[in-house]
């Protein structure tokens, strides 16, 4: 293998640049040429491909976002697009590909490998909802960003009796809400994986009030419902003086945390090694604190076993 390429796809995540940097540098260290593809699979099909040098990734490890831009490109599920993409890569003499992103990126990578173009996946999404790894790139930064905001809200929460509903990202996965909920001492955590009864939330708030608590924090994953909707439902029980904060896109940005920088470096380094070993159709991950590889296709067909659900119960016992 002489030439490899890398792209980022789907929602961007802090740490993607650390992975790109490691891919470029490890590749060059091993004598390869490394190419960057702009705007994910869309750019691949369009041929938006350029050589990356060591300088191109200089001082990028501390930057949020992705220097290769990212895009969603659902059209890539069509065989035609996939073939066109491979054609474009071959024009540049590229023989292996690394894709950084979530489920959609993985699906593309599996398809390309099936067509004979070896592709390695790196789990990059703040949602932490990828099978085959305990942590995805960007998750650690995102939960720190959420905590930073909640800490600020807490500062100002003492003056009145108030209930703050913090809506965080996570359509299918409650990981951000769970970790940030524990980390901020939220009285209630509401996530898609666990059915919740509004009566119980009401009970938790009232119990806090009786104990003299002035403010309550409810950490709500967007996948359950919107913060404003939650507030309205809560109002049917009592006036808890709710305030809704939707953290939104802030959660995707920011300089990556130490862990996401190290994780991105490890993922990138190992993805290059896999390509060098002639492997494709694999995705890298962290399992049991060790680097691990899984088959992308299997990964996509496996239901995620949320490993941190015990945190949910623990929080009930330490944040009442």
């Amino acid at each position: 293998m002489k030439r490899i390429a890398v792209l980022t796809s789907g929602g961007d995540a802090p740490g993607m640049n650390a992975a790109i940097r490691a891919i470029v540098r490890k590749g060059i260290y091993d004598g390869l040429e490394v190419y960057g593809i702009n705007y994910g699979y869309a750019g691949m099909v369009a041929g938006d491909i350029h050589r990356l040098t060591v300088d191109d990734v200089g001082d990028t490890i501390s930057r949020g976002g992705t220097i290769l831009y990212s895009a969603r490109y659902p059209e890539f599920k069509d065989l035609e697009g996939q073939k066109k993409g491979i054609e474009q890569l071959k024009k540049f003499g590229i023989e292996g590909l690394i894709v950084i992103g979530g489920d959609g990126s993985y699906r593309g990578g599996a398809a390309l490998t099936k067509l004979g173009f070896p592709t390695i996946g790196i789990p990059g999404t703040i949602d932490n909802d990828i099978v085959g790894t305990e942590y995805t790139l960007g998750f650690d930064t995102a939960i720190n960003t959420v905590l930073d905001s909640v800490d600020k809200i807490r500062d100002t929460a003492t003056s009145h009796v108030r209930t703050f509903i913090i809506e965080v990202m996570g359509r299918n996965a409650g990981d951000i809400a769970l970790w940030a909920g524990i980390g901020s001492g939220a009285e209630s955590i509401v996530i898609p994986e666990i059915d919740f009864r509004m009566e119980e939330v009401v009970k938790e708030i009232r119990a806090g009030r009786e104990r003299g608590k002035k403010h309550t924090i409810i950490m709500l994953a967007e996948g359950v419902m919107q913060g404003t909707e939650f507030a309205e439902k809560l109002k049917e029980y009592d006036n808890f003086h709710t305030r809704v904060t939707v953290l939104g896109h802030v959660q995707r940005g920011g300089s990556p945390s130490a862990r996401d920088r190290v994780l991105g470096s490890l993922f990138g380094y190992n993805a290059v090694q896999l390509l060098e070993e002639g492997k494709g159709g694999l995705c890298v991950g962290i399992v049991g604190s060790e680097l691990a590889y899984s088959d992308i296709s299997e990964t996509l067909n496996t239901k995620r076993d949320v490993p941190y659900l015990s945190l949910y119960q623990i929080n009930k016992e330490i944040s009442f």
Copy 2:
């Protein structure tokens, strides 16, 4: 004068603790006893008053919020409440009062002084909308908090063609939007002091797009309209792929900036001095980079002359 008291009122603001700390320490340095009143005027009327020692303000200069809690208490505009409040203060032998807050706090302070109880006002609100000072306590921290969030959003804004509408605090004053707009290089700034035409905003976005800009940032003061409403109006012209972020209560919190800590220290120090000189009915402020005093009642009757409006025009010429 042997005993003085301090309270915080209205929305809390970073730097209030720095002011309280300076009042307590300067007072004690000069041989006074200093009392803290919890929950603003409400606590004053209720007699929620306690002696403050040097230890009580230890390690508070870096903390957001207010250790004296804050509350809105519109009932204090009634003479009865005011008299009851003075009565409570006299029970503790308190002879002078410092109130930290916005307009409402000032109104209370003017009324108390008129009733013979010397009161000094310190401008504490993130909105920067108080006459008699160029900067209010908390404004500097708030604009830094806004920038921190917008920087994160920018990280993630490059992947798609998008228009981010950032709704920031400021019911009557556009100061936060203006400063944070300049500081984040926002393409459009929309504030209550200046009529805006949606056509112009549309023109600004389109001009950027033609020049190849991938994202547009619109900094919107809540006093003009809500972010979601703005997004809908914008949609009538074209689909600019808007995303609305409402920064909300995050803006009130956070460890105070260097400037708010110094400002709070200066304000607190000087407020004590004014009381010691037997003065009341004044508010402290920064004018022309110097400490200055004005009559509270005059302040309340003066329309604010926004000193920074030229920033609005400057931004048009450097953030097109």
Copy 3:
């Protein structure tokens, strides 16, 4: 068991408060009374012990340092002191103890358990040098703090040809230097676990210079030698225009990261559970991403097998 106590010992670390909070709340949730001991073993012997309520740990999860203060107290290795300590605890009816700290704390805990007083250890130190856990409380925050400083230094490093030597904590363990080195893209990492040859560092700097790099960052663990000494030795080879930055005590402080807050919560929660199950002489930890327990005495007699040394080689291949 009706009453338990907790102390922090040795150098403080961010996340200790999260652990104390979890101990207090989990204990109270289960019907126990929880006591805090100030100043570690010194305070235990002196009887500086007080009941902790839920309010005492309110809003502490985001605070650096330890609300129970910490102290080194080498005298506690004497049997007499240990017996005196147990006596003090028994005065309060305390039947189990949790100690948060490093090796010294563990040694005390093992001794107390041997004397019949069940004690559980929680690994709390920024150095990450405790056997029985992959991560210690405070390590994650510390590496983020280091990166924050190095990012700032990088901003200013482009103007001249310069070599920045960053001396970080770690007397016996290179973990901070290793992780922060990877995370900041340091050209050289120098740690106690791996012999280094100055010739190689010189080669690395020169290679970078030839490739056009303007600045070099060397991440140096204090356990190898002081930064100034390193700079002098380097000077014997060439004038690399070195600047030494000793990060010092800054590394111990700061609001704990998300991970240290969650880790502290888990450790605290599980330590209480162990005491409730009648166990003593154990320390909690994270092994293979799972909570795990080990025998304290064994832990103290086991040489640490540094699990991350591969990072050292990886960095050579991605930060040349």
Copy 4:
């Protein structure tokens, strides 16, 4: 005037990029071409000059350092170098220059103007030691950076009786030490402008100890002496368990604060306007909260009247 150029010189400072951005955009808005000179006067003499577009300054307002690099170049005081520099500028058709930096930059600017090449100075240095402005670009960010570090040190300072000596930048000016000293509640501030007696510092530490204070913070400007030297002198009186932290180059970096971004934008905007009005030999500044201009040569011959010395006395009365 059709073409103007900008350079940064001396030590870099956060906010320089905001000024460069405003110069480029305001210039282009007004129909000018704007050139950037790399590496200050050295690059000017060497002809390291290139056209700057709006894209070149995109997303730079939030970045520390300077995208034009900076350099010290004492040789520029020779007439020959100055003439050579003007020659280079003329090759590109450049008719006016803006220099961002400190005293040295101003001296160059005055010399160029005298030779008929209109030059405007912008005060850019974290030290705040330039005549003709109350605040220099970078000062506000630097004091916030110092406070961030001292807040972390405070977290960890409670366990033992300790005296932290924080050495901050400021060879001739105590502004950083003064503002950061107030902002961190330092018990002693030691600056070049005010003679200090070690006896007094000793008295201040002892007074705090007697009142039960566990830690003391001394904010020391490097211009007085080094932190380690100070610690040794202090030791002659008593063992105060001192710890020295030298903040060093960290102070120059970091994303600029809101104020430095706005200040840089204003300075840049107005410097362009001055050139357009045919003026040279002036420097911009903030005086009495208003933009102001002074003659560079006069500025260089005027002894700075430190406007904030009253802060020194105030701190004695609120941080005892």
